[in-house]
């Protein structure tokens, strides 16, 4: 178990170094940082001096490890656009994205799981077929279209929910969160649904097919032959056995919810890191972009690690410690 964790951490580090290299290359190969920093009046001597000071004359590999070392300390340089340290800018925006991702993840997993199990158990039922057909819309419609449609329906026509912004926030342990205020929660509903709809339908379809697969196995037949109630068979035996593959995909999906909140955040003007990234792109704010890239890498790797560890708690066959 411990060896497994150490091995996984090693792999995670390798992945992050690769992502870090891409982040680093953005500085190196996109635009000229000296131009940005010195302005038009600079002399050749100024350039040479700055190059030396920034370590730009060192070999690439040394510069890369310098970058990596600074990144580990949370130092990603200064944003070209707002002139503040990138670490601060991102940390300031991160809670908004995380709470949005959290709510939409909860929405996607809970509803996706319930509907998936339902459509698997009532395989030929009318409602189950209706849900399956409708879910195709969720899978095939692009996020921005769903967002715009929801705004049109619930904000413009019905006027039930706000169409943009984060609403009122409350400070919890020094972090401003909207999820704990009524106004903030109301503002979160539409973006959270928009962000989670695709994942919800995906999880639902996955749960359904996994569950159907499990329901065909011998041990389910045997559980029936033992006279267990339909409910025990479905929920006590079949459901738990669908969890392993579902957790894998769900974990990865949660990663993409965080990473690709960009579109939803733009549609709803949600002040999170996704919106920050979009603005950074239009301004060629490379430190922000590169830090964002690393951040997404860290989130994905962390989630993968958690998913791997969850397998152990679900599937006893994986624990090496048992004889």
């Amino acid at each position: 178990m411990l060896a497994f964790i150490i091995r996984r951490l090693g792999q995670a580090l390798l992945v992050l170094m690769a992502v870090g290299f891409v982040s680093f290359s953005m500085f190196k190969f996109m635009g000229d940082p000296l131009e940005n920093m010195l302005g038009q009046e600079a002399t050749v001597a100024d350039r040479a001096e700055l190059e030396e000071r920034l370590g730009l004359n060192d070999p690439i590999i040394v510069q890369y490890f310098d970058f990596f070392e600074r990144a580990l300390r949370g130092d990603f340089g200064v944003s070209y656009r707002v002139g503040l340290p990138v670490g601060e800018v991102i940390l300031d925006r991160l809670p908004a994205t995380l709470e949005l991702a959290f709510l939409s993840g909860v929405f996607a997993i809970s509803l996706g799981f319930v509907l998936g199990v339902y459509t698997a158990i009532k395989r030929d039922g009318f409602l189950a077929n209706f849900i399956m057909t409708t879910s195709l819309i969720g899978v095939s419609l692009p996020t921005f279209l769903i967002g715009v449609f929801l705004i049109w329906a619930f904000s413009v026509n019905l006027g039930w929910l706000p169409s943009f912004g984060r609403g009122e926030t409350r400070s919890v342990f020094g972090v401003d969160l909207a999820i704990f205020t009524w106004d903030g929660l109301r503002s979160m509903i539409l973006p959270a649904v928009t962000l989670g709809l695709y994942q919800m339908t995906l999880i639902m379809r996955l749960v359904r097919s996994e569950m159907l697969e499990v329901l065909r196995t011998d041990y389910i037949r045997f559980a029936r032959a033992r006279g267990l109630s339909q409910r025990t068979v479905n929920f006590g035996h079949a459901m738990k056995n669908t969890l392993v593959p579902v957790i894998t995909v769900t974990g990865l999906q949660f990663g993409s919810i965080v990473a690709f909140a960009i579109i939803t955040e733009s549609v709803f003007q949600w002040p999170g890191v996704g919106l920050l990234f979009i603005n950074a792109v239009s301004f060629v704010d490379i430190p922000v972009m590169s830090a964002y890239l690393l951040l997404v890498g860290v989130i994905f790797v962390t989630i993968n690690l958690i998913v791997d560890l969850l397998y152990f708690t679900i599937d006893p066959r994986l624990s090496v410690s048992s004889n």
Binding site: T217, D218, Y219, R221, F222, A223, R224, A225, R226, G227, L228, S229, Q230, T232, G236, H237, K240, N241, I314, D315, P316, R317, S322, N323
Partner: protein, 336 residues
């Protein structure tokens, strides 16, 4: 022993609607099992053996259904019961043991949990009572150190031990009838003998009736009291095991016996029945065995034979029909 059989199946028909029409994996099958008796159902793959078992326990996969005949448990009809009543019979009065112990147990649940949930589904006992009962069951089926093994997961047991656990699960609520569907096919030969001995012992000690589904004539000879030979969903021959095996009457049974290796017969060459069992979609008219039979006479191609008593067992073959018996000699082989 009372005279009413524990299980009486009569004229059972199982049908599966398919695009081309309706398939009949089980066609007018009838047999009885008494307390403490082991009945063997033997036949090739697809003969309808397992389907009979599924029909009795009410677990035929949709869209299949029982479309004719009756199944009576202690004289009470059980083939038309609502699902909830049938569930109370399953595990409690009729239990089933499947072929593959590796896949019969839920891999994510300890064997103790699977045992106690089965016990508590049928008997009103507390969880600690259920647990001590589970330990006793594991001991009874011969799991060493049962008390400490009860919290192990299925993958921590060997194949033979797992089949013992499966049998313990089948015994959990003291059923009157156990349907064992090829319980030893997936096991090593030495383990097979142990499992069969265990089943036999439990059946004798508890007076449980057993239906043993197998394609192994050796297992039939060693274990069963009566045997039914199935071919293409119908009973070809049924009777006391000794009578059927020592004086087989149906050409198919004769062929089956000849194709079973024995230490006393011809050791050089094992005979085989030519051809294979017909697909359910293309069962020949008349007797389903006629394309492979070497003794066909004219009625074999026209009508389905019914069971007649021959040499202590019942046989469905035109050769033994009183009306045709007289002129068997002249017509044998004539129509080939």
């Amino acid at each position: 022993m009372s005279d009413t059989p524990i299980l009486k199946v009569s004229d059972l028909i199982v049908e599966f609607p398919v695009r081309e029409g309706t398939l009949r994996p089980v066609d007018r099958v009838g047999f009885e099992v008494r307390a403490g008796e082991i009945l063997g159902l033997v036949g090739e793959s697809g003969a309808g053996k397992s389907m009979c078992g599924s029909a009795i326990i009410g677990l035929i996969e949709r869209p299949g259904r029982i479309s004719g005949g009756e199944i009576r448990l202690h004289g009470e009809r059980i083939d038309n019961l609502p699902e909830d009543d049938m569930r109370r019979i399953r595990g409690k009065r009729i239990a089933m043991v499947f072929q593959d112990p590796l896949t019969s147990l839920n891999p994510l649940m300890t064997v103790g949990k699977q045992l106690t949930e089965t016990i508590r589904a049928h008997l009103a006992v507390s969880s600690s009572e259920a647990r001590s009962r589970a330990v006793a069951l594991l001991e009874e089926v011969g799991i060493p150190a049962a008390a400490s093994r009860i919290d192990a997961y299925p993958h921590q047991f060997s194949g033979g031990m797992r089949q013992r656990v499966v049998i313990a699960l089948a015994l959990a609520a003291e059923p009157e009838l156990i349907i064992a569907d090829e319980p030893t096919t997936a096991l090593d030969v030495s383990v097979q003998a142990q499992i069969m001995a265990l089943l036999k012992k439990l059946c004798r000690e508890r007076g449980t009736a057993v239906i043993l589904i197998t394609h192994d004539m050796g297992v039939i000879a060693e274990t069963t009291d009566r045997v039914a030979v199935l071919y293409a969903g119908r009973i070809a021959e049924i009777g006391p095991t000794r009578a059927v095996l020592s004086t087989p009457s149906h050409p198919y049974t004769i062929g089956l016996m000849a194709s079973t290796p024995s230490t006393t017969g011809n050791l050089q060459q094992l005979s085989q029945i030519p051809g294979s069992m017909p697909n359910l979609r293309a069962i020949p008219k008349g007797c389903a065995f006629n394309p492979r039979c070497t003794k066909t006479i004219s009625p074999c191609f026209k009508d389905i034979p019914i069971l007649e008593t021959v040499d202590g067992s019942e046989v469905a073959c035109w050769l033994y029909d009183p009306a045709y018996k007289a002129d068997t000699k002249e017509e044998t082989g004539a129509s080939q």
